[in-house]
Amino acid sequence: MSTGSEKQSGETTEPAGGDASAALVLVDGSNVAHSSEGEQPELANIVAVCDKLREEGYEPVVVVDAALRHQIDDRVGYERMVDATEVLFIGGRSGVGKSSVAFEMSRRLATARSRHAVTEGGNLDMAYPRRGSTAWRRRLWR
């Protein structure tokens, strides 16, 4: 369940807890998931152990057997952890070229047959009135 990415320059820092120099710890995920009472293995157990380890300064690498995928209580959460996602946020003032850079990256990745998605955040809430704004609260629109 590790991301398995081996690059990592010092610049690619995670928002919390990420430390390239942290000692790796192997976690028997199947065992941990089954460690609570009840029939069904729980993903929350694995998450809790990983959180605790990170807190202590370790970098957990979770190993599980193939059957766990079919037994785990939170399948969606499990799938996400197995094949960890990677996100690049591109911010910056308008006119700086965020979209142009994203499009160019997309073209290059497509050429390299690297599966990815681009989302333009500016379009996700381009609406009037903006939810929660004064106009919204006072119901000023028509």
Binding site: T12, E14, R80, E86, F89, G91, S106, H116, A117, L124
Partner: protein
């Protein structure tokens, strides 16, 4: 609103096997935690703040020229100052002055290890 919509969009991509997302938004580097929460899971996250001087921006001219170009420029300028101040320290700053889109795109792909 944007976060809710992002959550739906990314869920759709996830369901069919996408794992890499590029997300552009002016202030995205200031609200990474909310955005990551919307995406869900424990993604590897990299945030980049593109920068450019006022001079560069003027020269390029805002592409989205609407009803008030000066107002847009002023807004862009205010945003630049705010982003510089509010972006977390782990955000990677990339100056775009005198650089091509191609070289910046290459740098970011390299940064992500998405070769």
């Amino acid at each position: 609103m944007a976060e809710k919509t992002l959550a739906l969009i990314w869920r759709n991509y996830l369901d069919v096997g996408y794992r890499k997302l590029i997300y552009t938004k002016t202030n995205s580097v200031c609200s990474v935690e909310e955005l990551v929460a919307a995406i869900g899971g424990r993604p590897r996250v990299v945030a980049v703040l593109l920068g450019a001087t006022d001079h560069t921006i003027r020269k390029r001219h805002l592409r989205e020229i609407g009803s008030a170009p000066e107002e847009q420029f002023a807004r862009s300028r205010r945003a630049a100052l705010r982003l510089e101040k509010e972006a977390a320290e782990w955000v990677v700053g990339v100056s775009t002055d005198a650089r091509t889109v191609v070289s910046i795109a290459e740098e970011l792909i390299e940064l992500m290890g998405w070769r």
